[in-house]
């Protein structure tokens, strides 16, 4: 039943007298932080190997022993990423929050239509901003890119870390292929983050200079209303009436109750 109101009562948080929509719980913010930290370290210590002749890269390793340190940091960050990934799997399967978010993450036909609508809106063929659910097509795409990328990088990375064990399973020339995949997947991930993710959470004029969701987890109700309309409406129907009333009040919307009464 609706005992917890599908988690929406927990998603409505009050901060300094104002109501917010809690986008990321603390557990999610910690996961995001660890993902971000490990990803950054992995890129910094891994990408140079793809451009060993570059002078920037060469000057990175001018100190004796810094290359070995690079390896240690890279592997340490990889283990962190692995732990976060494993934790995330358990989080998605066994926590109420994770489980609900995972269900919302499932790709639907509507996501394709949303993308189409967004492009129409952007080129001026459609008046209104498309109505998105909890996660729009961009966010879903990014999530699956991270899941896919992490899985590939962790698997190929493990094979490269333990080549002797890996070659029990397959001949060494497969490792050459794995190295190609590890390298290009890294470039792909790096460019996707630096261009796509950084645009969506920093440079996009809607959130510029930065969406603070990753820090405090809170999303302005106005932003939820304008950018995730379906989620907003769903929240209102799921929330107890008193809380729903406060949400409408904060946004200056008409309260539906008097109408119904009349």
């Amino acid at each position: 039943m609706n005992g917890e109101h599908r988690g929406y009562t927990k998603r409505l948080v009050e901060h300094q007298g104002k109501l917010y929509y809690e986008r990321f719980s603390k557990a999610q913010r910690i996961q995001h932080f660890l993902l971000m930290a490990s990803f950054t370290l992995l890129i910094l210590t891994g990408l140079p190997l793809l451009f060993p002749g570059n002078w920037v890269v060469r000057s990175m390793f001018w100190i004796e022993g810094s290359f070995s340190l690079r390896g240690i940091i890279h592997r340490g960050a990889a283990v962190t990423l692995l732990l976060v990934s494993v934790y995330h799997i358990f989080f998605c399967l066994f926590s109420a929050r994770g489980n609900r978010d995972l269900r919302e993450m499932i790709l639907r036909k509507q996501d394709l239509l949303d993308m189409y609508a967004m492009i129409l809106y952007n080129i001026g063929k459609q008046e209104s901003f498309p109505s998105f659910g909890r996660f729009n097509f961009i966010e879903k795409f990014e999530y699956y890119a991270v899941v896919w990328g992490s899985a590939i990088m962790l698997l190929t990375g493990a094979a490269l870390w333990f080549p002797v064990h890996a070659t029990i399973l397959f001949p060494r020339w497969v490792l050459d292929i794995i190295r190609v995949i590890h390298g290009f997947e890294a470039i792909l991930a790096f460019l996707a983050i630096i261009i796509w993710h950084m645009y969506n959470v920093h440079l996009n004029p809607e959130v510029f200079p930065m969406s603070r969701v990753w820090l405090n987890g809170r999303m302005e109700l106005e932003f939820l209303h304008s950018h995730h309309r379906l989620e907003y409406e769903r929240m209102l129907t799921e929330l107890p009436s008193e809380q729903a009333r406060r949400v409408r009040e904060q946004l200056g919307e008409q309260q539906p109750e008097p109408e119904r009464a009349a």
């Binding site: 890269v57 290359f67 080549p163 070659t167 029990i168 001949p171 060494r172 050459d176």
Partner: protein, 423 residues
């Protein structure tokens, strides 16, 4: 009576003996009367000074030689002072063996055939009045002093420019910075190779005669390595008369031989790949002997090559897999890179490396023939990444333009009809 006669005879003999030694000493003293004066100069201004103390310490004095033993034209002379010009001292009268050897060597040939007065004669290396025995530390040709003695001429740029075949002045000087030179100079390791250890002493050969003997000469100290070298593909070919293969000096350098741990060494882990590439990246040699090409480039693109390039010297370099002195062809069952031995060769660094570990090409080049799947995946990624990033950028551009347009139209609405709805 008999006793008296015997005594007289003995006394006479003693007198003669004393007189004769006294006579020699007397004669040297006679010379030093004038020549022990530091200010004594000849007509040309050259010093004629001979330090009697240093002469006394010299091996020739200790062997009881006298001034006139060498300056023979003054033997029996008694009308002092003697004329300024004396005959050139001829060492060969006593040192005939050394002289003959010298005559056959590069110095002797130069001096004789070309009348080259710059070519080193006896005194250039051994000194003149104050010669010490060769095993005495103060001898000019004692191991620790010899390099400096040779460098008197061979480190002189003026002389080196003048005489073809002397080599550049810096080259000989590099010796002092080499592993041999340092051992000699810093540690006083007198068995370390010095000039004469390789080049010989009296009979110094010309380069043409010297070159074919280099491995053997190095092997006279580095005997085990010489054996290894002879077993390898380079050494065995050299012995058969091949002059394209590297000998010791081609990889290690000549005068500038350095320890492999020295970053400036040609066989340091960082530099060895380049050293091997002098031949193995040489198109003419590769074609002549059917050697595979692109070895350096393919090595550099492996993890080993990249890590080495960025300063991790613990990774495998050419020698780690191919061996150093005893390099063999991969077809040789004794070769470290023979398919049957590859697993154990890899296993030196990768313990427990199995058969699979070494299967497939090692020097992989980026071409479809080498590893078709890797090549295809690389191309697929390039296309996919450029497509995806292109899509991202296109989307972002549309988004930004749209945002700008909306902002402007909102502004216009406010300006034009802002009051409209209110009315």
């Amino acid at each position: 009576m008999n006793n008296f006669k015997l005594l007289t005879l003995l006394l006479f003999a003693l007198f003669i003996a004393t007189c004769s030694t006294r006579l020699g000493a007397q004669e040297n003293e006679l010379c030093f009367d004038c020549h022990n004066d530091p200010e004594l100069t000849g007509a040309t201004g050259d010093t004629l000074y001979v330090d009697s103390k240093k002469w006394t310490a010299s091996i020739h004095n200790r062997m009881e030689l006298e001034c006139v033993s060498c300056h023979m034209d003054l033997a029996g002379f008694d009308d002092w002072p003697h004329p300024e010009h004396l005959e050139k001292v001829d060492c060969s009268i006593c040192h005939d063996e050394a002289y003959e050897l010298w005559q056959q060597g590069i110095h002797g040939l130069q001096a004789q055939a070309k009348g080259d007065l710059d070519a080193a004669g006896c005194a250039a290396c051994h000194g003149s009045h104050y010669i010490m025995a060769v095993d005495e530390a103060s001898s000019l040709v004692y191991p620790t002093n010899l390099p400096h003695t040779c460098l008197n001429c061979h480190g002189d740029p003026g002389l080196a420019d003048k005489h073809e075949g002397m080599g550049r002045a810096e080259v000989a000087g590099m010796y002092l910075e080499s592993v041999h030179g340092k051992a000699l100079e810093k540690s006083g390791l007198v068995i370390s190779a010095t000039c004469s250890s390789c080049h010989g002493s009296h009979k110094i050969p010309s380069l043409e005669d010297f070159y074919p003997r280099i491995p053997e000469i190095c092997g006279s100290c580095h005997a085990g390595i010489y054996e290894d070298y002879l077993q390898g593909v380079h050494g065995s070919a050299f012995v058969e008369g091949n002059r394209d293969v590297p000998i010791c000096t081609d990889c290690h350098g000549e005068h500038n031989i350095r320890d492999s741990g020295d970053p400036e060494s040609t066989i340091n882990p960082r530099t060895v790949a380049e050293t091997c590439s002098h031949c193995h990246e040489d198109m003419a040699l590769s074609r002549k002997y059917g050697l595979p090409v692109g070895r350096l480039e393919s090595y550099r693109s492996t993890y080993h090559g990249i890590a080495l390039n960025l300063g991790d010297i613990s990774v495998a370099n050419c020698g780690s897999c191919h061996g150093y002195h005893n390099v063999r062809a991969s077809s040789d069952p004794k070769s470290s890179i023979h398919p049957a031995n590859l697993a154990s060769t890899c296993g030196k660094c990768h313990p427990n490396a199995g058969e699979n570990f070494a299967t497939g090409k090692i020097h992989v080049q980026d071409s479809p023939q080498e590893n078709i799947l890797a090549w295809l995946i690389k191309r697929a990624y390039l296309i996919f990444i450029s497509g995806l990033i292109g899509g991202f950028i296109a989307y972002i551009c549309i988004d930004l333009v749209a945002h700008r347009r909306r902002k402007r139209s909102v502004g216009k609405e406010r300006m034009n009809g802002g009051e409209g709805p209110e009315r």
